[in-house]
């Protein structure tokens, strides 16, 4: 890695970690109902919303009601998104006159945005009206993120409360998350993005003269280019903060209207991991021991930095096939060197690989380079980060509740290995919690590997694998790893906008989101009812270095054992072929 790369990545990590405590403290105040400043101004509006919607904010829910309300709310949103896509040609704010989105694509996209995945089988600027982008997709970016954070807060309450029957009120958690956390941050980030040149308008697409006229494949002169327009900045801000990732344009954050300058890129990158990282401190604060939050953050950061180094190193080393062609891949003052295929020159290796690692560590899925063009080892990193269950920072809320489930498994494993009492934060971990935790770690691999197998053995699945052989398999595995873990990024190369992939991908996203949230809430409900046992010598301390190492081991081993065989058929063998041929 180059000194410039070290500097940029180091600066990023320092700023990220420095923001964990203030933002985490603020979010804890929001969820605990303490005064935090903004509530004085927006409190009357919050109460008006409850009155209009008939919500009794002082009434709490048990886990079952909380889960059912969350499910129904998400499915109502899903239906609205589907309807808006199918009816957009009758609706306003459609200056390009786009027709209705096809049923299978609308189905996949509706699930994708409601489930916080933001997998995009369509190209935004050639498919969606401005109204659909705003009212369907951007709104879901807010509320799907808020639903994930609400689920996390319910689990934290389950850990923090003693002999309680309830875990909070879903409507209150949803409203407070959106109003006090996501909206203010999104407004600030959108303004920063606009200042850097990210567009925000309702203009029709514009024809502009080319600075360098060219000729098309038939030899005809091309002197103009059609530039897409639209309200991009407002969607970009929440797509990053809410770890949604769905781009306004097809090229996502590689498009200069969506990510215009290196500074815009830095802020977008920061927004990807900001809330998931800060939630660790919120967790520690809410359970009354911030060391617990720092320990979980340490686990995430150690795994993240190790895999980031692998990805940057692989890309900086370059592509051996380019070396054979005599292409100069060495870093210099004039170029970043390395494998620059599919990467923006303005971002270089460090910012592209950092983004690829961050976007797949979080369940974000936005891209500023094309992951399909990464070296096999460089491409393995984002794929494996998703397959680890999106718990390395992970999605807003979902990442931390996934990691807390791993922590529960870790204390159980410690109990089996060294005879420690399986307790987490003073709550006894018993058979019921372990069975629910097992569901959480088993469902994504079943979904990912099952649908991947189906795609590579059926004619419908094979019909749109355009890259034959090993790389084609990697593309299919990546697609289902992404949808089956609610990430949303794509390896591309695979024709995924057809009924087979839209249907199977849609189902993968549904199971990955809701069938993990349900057992998580069941754990929350079960833990809330339990007493908090005073700390003694029996249980394993969960805030020290030993536990950090144990938790890293559990996450890596579960991820490795489940997916290494499939990875061996894709990127691993591809790496060996690239260097051995």
């Amino acid at each position: 890695m180059t000194p410039n790369g070290y500097l940029q990545i180091g600066l990023y990590l320092i700023v990220l970690i420095a923001l964990v405590k203030p933002l985490g403290w603020y979010m804890a105040r929001v969820y605990e109902g303490n005064s935090f400043g903004l509530d004085r101004g927006l409190g009357p509006f919050e109460r008006l919303l409850y009155r209009l919607c008939g919500v009794r904010s002082d009434e709490e829910m048990n886990w079952k009601t909380y889960a059912l309300v969350m499910l129904l709310f998400n499915f109502a949103g899903l239906i609205v998104v589907y309807a808006l896509q199918r009816l957009q040609h009758f609706l306003p704010l459609n200056p390009q006159g786009f027709g209705a989105v096809t049923p299978d694509s609308a189905f996949n996209t509706a699930i994708s945005f409601a489930s916080n995945t933001n997998w995009q089988g369509y190209g935004g600027e050639t498919t969606m009206s401005y109204l659909t982008q705003m009212l369907a997709l951007t709104v879901q970016n807010f509320v799907s993120a808020a639903a994930g954070m609400a689920t996390l807060v319910a689990l934290i309450r389950g850990l923090a409360r003693r002999t309680a029957q309830t875990i909070g009120n879903f409507w209150v958690d949803l409203t407070r998350t959106t109003l006090y956390i996501l909206l203010p941050l999104a407004i600030v980030l959108a303004l920063i993005q606009v200042s850097q040149g990210v567009i925000q308008n309702f203009n029709a697409y514009q024809n502009v003269p080319l600075l360098q006229p060219t000729v098309d494949s038939n030899g005809n002169a091309v002197t103009e280019q059609l530039l897409p327009m639209g309200p991009a900045a407002s969607q970009v801000a929440i797509k990053q903060l809410g770890t949604n990732g769905g781009g306004f344009f097809n090229a996502n954050s590689a498009h200069p209207f969506e990510n215009s300058t290196p500074l815009a890129n830095f802020f977008e990158l920061l927004a990807i991991l900001l809330i998931p990282a800060a939630l660790c401190y919120t967790f520690g604060k809410m359970v009354g021991d911030t060391r617990q939050g720092w320990a979980v953050l340490a686990v995430m950061t150690i795994i993240f930095v190790a895999l980031l180094a692998l990805c940057v190193g692989a890309e900086q080393n370059g592509n051996p096939n380019f070396t054979k062609l005599g292409i100069d891949q060495s870093a210099s003052s004039l170029q970043s060197g390395g494998n620059m295929e599919g990467k923006e020159v303005r971002f270089g290796i460090a910012n592209s690989a950092l983004w690829a690692t961050a976007t797949t560590a979080a369940s974000n899925g936005s891209v500023n380079s094309m992951h399909d063009s990464y070296t096999p080892l460089g491409g393995l990193v984002p794929m494996w980060l998703m397959q680890l269950g999106e718990v390395i920072y992970g999605g807003v809320g979902s990442g931390l509740y996934g990691m807390l489930v791993f922590a529960i498994i870790a204390v159980f494993v410690a109990g089996l290995m060294v005879g420690r009492t399986p307790e987490y934060l003073g709550k006894k971990i018993e058979a019921y919690e372990m069975k629910m935790a097992s569901l959480v770690i088993l469902i994504p691999p079943i979904v990912v590997l099952g649908f991947t197998a189906l795609a590579v053995v059926t004619d419908a699945g094979k019909a749109t694998i355009y890259n034959p052989g090993v790389h084609g398999f990697s593309e299919v595995l990546y697609a289902f790893s992404s949808q089956g873990n609610n990430n949303g990024s794509a390896f591309a190369g695979l024709g995924a906008n057809n009924p087979f992939y839209n249907l199977t991908g849609g189902l993968a996203m549904l199971f990955a989101r809701y069938w993990l949230a349900i057992p998580t809430l069941a754990i929350a409900g079960s833990l809330a009812r339990k007493k908090i046992v005073p700390t003694g010598p029996g249980p394993l301390p969960t805030h020290n270095a030993l536990f950090i190492v144990l938790l890293i081991g559990v996450v890596i081993i579960v991820g490795a054992l489940t997916f290494i065989p499939a990875l061996a058929l894709g990127p691993i063998v591809e790496q060996l072929m690239a260097h051995g041929a």
Partner: protein
């Protein structure tokens, strides 16, 4: 086609409802026993 996809979503919702109910009943049965 719209009805077909709506049916898939409703089926999943019903299955999810079933999972919630199963987790709840399973927990309560264990406590009673």
């Amino acid at each position: 086609m719209d009805i077909l996809y709506l049916g898939v979503v409703l089926l999943f919702l019903a299955l999810s409802w079933g999972l919630v109910t199963f987790c709840d009943i399973y927990k309560n049965n264990r406590r009673r026993s």
